[in-house]
């Protein structure tokens, strides 16, 4: 079942094309990795999906709802407020810099949106939060504040915060890029566990071996375009496009 469908997505910053016509689909239970050099538009793509950036052309459908489309005259039309709100909750996003709320305890970081957006009771929200914290190995930390946690722990809290709203798709925007190398492993393990549970995910990452391990499909982006797309086996071992080859070579020969 198709959860996300993107057609000819375009995004410009000050007249400069960052996404120059991206099309892809994502099926339920699938893990899609997006790799590519810095500035290729990977993060912008996630930001367009999660409504953090308005798009300049194309169409995005999420869970059979049209979030945004473009008329024949090239006018971009977003769905009504209610639909946009629903779509927002269909997608979860984990940021590179965690963006936890520093003035709230770990528990409240995870319960706040459950209570004020989904309207869950305080008890129910806390129950969900504790279950997720246990899953992240952080059951001891519910009273702590983000500043008292390591980067890896903060990122796990932010994953729990996103999961608490039961998104249909969880998007990761370079989830390990702000972490010390010895802390990336704990985050990658969490994402791997989620993949095992058939969580639908889009992972923008620079961790090639990780992308190869967890993905059902990999997209290689360069200069605002999808250059190559396929199973990790084919894309990493037998890339057809010379740009993909060049990019992967840089990673394999440090």
């Amino acid at each position: 079942m198709e959860i996300i469908s993107v057609e000819n997505l375009k995004k410009e910053f000050d007249g400069l094309g960052v996404l120059k016509g991206i099309s892809f689909t994502l099926n339920k239970g699938e893990v899609l990795s997006i790799i590519g050099p810095s500035g290729s538009g990977k993060s912008t793509l996630l930001r367009c999906l999660t409504q953090l950036e308005p798009i300049d052309g194309g169409k995005i459908e999420v869970c059979s709802k049209t979030m945004v489309s473009t008329s024949e005259e090239g006018k971009v039309v977003y769905a009504d407020k209610q639909t946009l709100k629903e779509v927002r909750l269909n997608l979860g996003l984990v940021f590179q810099n965690f963006n936890l709320f520093p003035h709230m305890s770990v528990l409240r970081n995870i319960t706040e949106a459950q209570m004020h957006v989904l309207g869950r009771s305080k008890e129910e929200a806390a129950r969900t939060a504790r279950t997720l914290l246990a899953k992240m190995g952080l059951e001891e930390k519910e009273k702590a504040y983000p500043c008292q946690l390591s980067g890896g722990q903060q990122q796990r809290v932010s994953i729990a915060r996103a999961l608490a709203l039961n998104p249909d798709v969880l998007c990761f925007d370079e989830p390990t890029s702000a972490l010390d190398p010895e802390l990336t492993g704990e985050i990658l393990k969490v994402i791997k566990d989620l993949a095992k549970e058939k969580m639908t995910m889009i992972v923008v990452t620079h961790e090639m071996s990780f992308a190869r391990d967890i993905s059902d499909r990999v997209i290689f982006m360069d200069d605002g375009l999808i250059v190559e797309e396929g199973s990790p086996d084919i894309l990493f071992n037998n890339p057809t496009n010379p740009r993909t080859k060049r990019f992967l070579n840089r990673y394999e020969q440090p």
């Binding site: 953090l52 810099n97 520093p102 003035h103 504040y145 500043c147 915060r161």
Partner: protein, 211 residues
Amino acid sequence: MGNLLLQMLAGTVTSLKIFILTLLFSLPLGLLVAKGRMSKNPIISNMVNMYIMIMRGTPLILQLLFVYFAPYYIFGTSYDRFTAVIVGFVINYAAYFAEIYRGGIQSIPIGQYEASLVLGFSKAHTFTHIVAPQVVKRIIPAMGNEVITLVKDTALAQTIGVAELFRVAQNAAARQFSTMPIFIAGVFYFIMNALVSRSFDLLEKKLNYYH
């Protein structure tokens, strides 16, 4: 001596009234001004900016005189002196508070807004529950400065004839040919500001549970 102290206490009460009423109105008004200053509408933001420039760029003593006498010249009538003092202080202090709020609001990382948006919080909830609490912590030192200045500025109320602490002290000094009352007034201001200062320290400590 006892009589003098009683008079000075009465003056202190007037000073405290000015202090409290000014804070009561200028703290919320400042937020409105800050919002206007940050408005995307250039007409609003320019107008508010002009207001802030006038309030910060001219002496408070002049503003008090203007607030009290301008309506008299324009409409031939004016309000009572105490009200004029409050209006003058409120519009002046709101401008300063607005700039402190603006600095605080703009120092909140954009990631906090993005996380709130992705989690589905409304704009109002994002401001009241995510942004504002963090702003409060960040602006405490600057606010402490401003509030301490306000305690001392209340002495300016005498320019339009409101008998606050300093005026009472000056009158007594003139009557007694002694600088003692003025010195005592100084001690009064010092004690009030010690309390203000201590309150801000406590508030700062209370919010120290995160950084």
